[in-house]
């Protein structure tokens, strides 16, 4: 696959585009009171029995700070996870809580100014990684509520412009980073020609609908190529569809429920249209909860299985269907938060690595307690490198501690963050993708089977 730019080369090209994002954000002018009202309405709408119970239960012990990478690398109390929920708690107490009549006498409603201040706490310094949820003695799911804070800041038109730009693109174009259907076709043509592999597009019926991502299409076609190679090798009956190929769901990242549902619904409709029994998600962590655990779109369970690529590969290995060449390196695996801690997929990617004869050296904090890459939840789009770079440094130290030669992950966004970290810290250790490694380790002696 050497004819394509490496991930790091592609990332450097993308950097220029990311820097222009703020200029592309649509203006969101409105009076301050309207911003506050919209945010309050979103909060109240979201405050259900679960969140209410959480907000009634915090004992201000501060333990959650010790789990959060942003606190860990700065020591600044303002990054304490539960503090990121202050506006939500105030709104809950004033609007939804059992003593709201009392709290209204002694507290002020949230303001647009406060929402603007909280942007940094909910977006720049929270990747919704869920690590703090592990440590809280009350079991409070802080990340789930940061989601609500983000949604309310977005509703107030105060989300970071970088994020709003991509969100607007997805809302109107159904894709991101300019990865149009034409571009997809162009990339597929290029891959088929250069790699001599068939990538089925727009088949009317298929057992499996595969979603790729704007990141892979525009930046890392190797990811798509690798997925195609493995699926063809396994003889999967699969297709990509130009009317539903984007797995990235910015609605889920920015926490705009309507866009989230709209994008998810479209993907679901495409899968149903072609009679798919499986919907396979490419390496982009947030796509898994965005679709697999998207509630309230259909009133019944989906008529197909939603499976993440690392889960799929691992299960193929475990079932003995996928055999890989063994070359026995020492690797460490970074679990993307959204598929690991929030998704429960831990053993499958490791099974793939072991099938390649790799020795998996775990980081000091791994699997459930693994630290976020530093730029999840759309964080890598933000111009807040000074803060993120401290997390990058910590992550790199954790990788160093393993003594492994290579870092492997199964998320394009995590990889993007590590590639940035690698450049900044002049690290030599390669950062690889699980599916690309698997494709590179397919047995030589077997030709690519044709799909279907």
């Amino acid at each position: 696959m050497s004819e394509f730019p490496t991930f790091e080369q592609a990332m450097q090209q993308m950097q220029g585009m990311l820097e222009k994002l703020p200029e592309m954000a649509p203006p969101m002018q409105m009076p301050p009171q309207q911003r506050a009202d919209r945010a309050t309405a979103v909060m109240v709408q979201n405050l259900d029995a679960r969140f209410g119970t959480y907000l009634e239960s915090c004992i201000h012990c501060g333990h959650c700070a010790e789990a959060c990478h942003f606190f860990q690398v700065t020591g600044d109390p303002k990054y304490t996870p539960v503090h990121k929920l202050d506006l939500l708690r105030r709104t809950y107490r004033r609007e939804s809580g059992p003593f709201r009549w009392l709290y209204r006498l002694f507290s002020q409603p949230i303001t647009a100014e406060e929402l603007a201040d909280w942007k940094e706490l909910a977006f720049d310094s929270c990747t919704m990684c869920g690590r703090c949820t592990l440590i809280c003695p009350m079991g409070i799911d802080i990340a789930a509520m940061v989601h609500v804070v983000r949604e309310s800041i977005s509703a107030a038109g105060l989300a970071p412009p970088e994020i709003r730009a991509v969100e607007a693109e997805q809302a109107t174009q159904d894709t991101v980073f300019g990865a149009s259907p034409e571009k997809l076709k162009e990339v597929i043509g290029m891959l088929e020609q250069q790699a001599g592999i068939e990538i089925p597009l727009d088949r009317e019926q298929a057992e499996m609908l595969v979603l790729t991502s704007g990141l892979d299409i525009m930046m890392n076609p190797r990811g798509l190529l690798a997925t195609a190679k493995v699926l063809n090798h396994l003889g999967a009956d699969w297709t990509l569809r130009s009317d539903g190929y984007e797995s990235i769901n910015f609605g889920a990242q920015v926490c705009d429920k309507e866009i989230h549902k709209d994008i998810a619904r479209r993907r679901i409709d495409t899968a149903k249209k072609i009679g798919a029994k499986t919907l396979l998600l490419c390496e982009c962590g947030h796509t898994y909860p965005a679709l697999r655990w998207a509630e309230g779109i259909y009133q019944e369970p989906l008529p197909f299985e939603v499976i993440y690529i690392s889960d799929y590969l691992g299960k193929q290995v475990q079932a003995g269907r996928l055999k890989l060449r063994r070359d026995g390196r020492s690797v460490t695996f970074h679990d993307p938060c959204k598929t690991g801690r929030v998704g429960g997929i831990f053993d499958q990617p490791r099974a793939v690595l072991e099938a390649m004869g790799d020795e998996v050296c775990e980081t000091p904090d791994h699997k459930m307690t693994n630290f976020c890459c530093g730029g999840g939840g759309g964080g890598f789009l933000l111009n807040n490198l000074p803060l993120r770079s401290k997390v990058y440094q910590m992550k790199m130290q954790q990788f160093d501690a393993t003594g492994a030669d290579t870092v492997v992950t199964a998320c394009g966004s995590c990889r993007l963050n590590f590639a940035t970290a690698k450049m900044m810290l002049e690290s030599e250790r390669p950062i690889e993708s699980l599916v690309e490694l698997a494709a590179d380790h397919l047995p030589d002696d077997e030709g690519w089977r044709r799909p279907g």
Binding site: D48, G62, P77, M138
Partner: protein, 216 residues
């Protein structure tokens, strides 16, 4: 009516009534809010996850206990000490018997005194942590300090009454009972409510992650 009679009679009845009403009001107020819809196919049992997390959170997760050891340790000491005093003291058991009709053997008085002293020491340690630990101080509001005082007062007055220090026994006892009643009255309103809400709070998270196949 003497102060002691007041404390044992109308004040006690009022405190219990406020406690029961307040706890129900707060619990119902929260639990009757909307319940989130769940249509996605679970990967594992939500109920099992919920039950598991209610218990698993009594102990910090391995790998995450590094910087919270002091807080956790003081938390255990204060809570266990307080529980021994409240549920092991002979007079306390008699009081509970009077209200609920159930009783159990009491612990020796000397053990109760030791438990009370340990609990008090742990509470002082927790206060010190709240005042000195930058993060905890940053998070703290007047309510954290008030609730601390309300929880500690019965311990202090109980120890004083037990030792017969300061005032005459009847007055000391009345003050002790009144301070315990203040705790009962405040429990449903402030953060002491975590003694009840920790169950649904942990269960919600356990169930939500449990259905995703994650043991949290």
């Amino acid at each position: 009516m003497s102060l002691l009679e007041f404390a044992r009679g109308p004040a006690f009845q009022a405190a219990v009534a406020i406690l029961v009403f307040g706890v129900f009001w707060r619990l119902l107020g929260v639990l009757t809010l909307r319940w989130g819809q769940r249509q996605t196919e679970p990967r594992a049992s939500a109920a099992a996850g919920g039950v598991r997390t209610v218990f698993s959170r009594f102990w910090p997760r391995r790998g995450l206990s590094r910087n919270v050891r002091t807080g956790r340790f003081l938390g255990y000491l204060s809570h266990i000490g307080l529980a021994l005093v409240v549920f092991g003291g002979v007079y306390h058991i008699e009081t509970i018997h009077g209200v609920l009709g159930v009783a159990w053997p009491a612990l020796p008085g000397s053990l109760i005194s030791v438990a009370a002293v340990i609990a008090l020491g742990a509470f002082l340690g927790l206060l010190g942590r709240r005042l000195m630990h930058p993060t905890v101080r940053f998070l703290s509001t007047w309510e954290d300090y008030f609730s601390w005082a309300v929880a500690v007062l019965p311990l202090v007055t109980g120890l004083l009454a037990g030792a017969g220090l300061g005032l005459d026994y009847a007055t000391l006892l009345a003050i002790h009972i009144l301070s315990a009643e203040l705790l009962l009255i405040w429990l449903p309103f402030g953060k002491l409510f975590h003694g009840i809400s920790f169950v649904p709070s942990r269960a919600f998270t356990g169930a939500n992650y449990g259905r995703r196949g994650v043991k949290i």
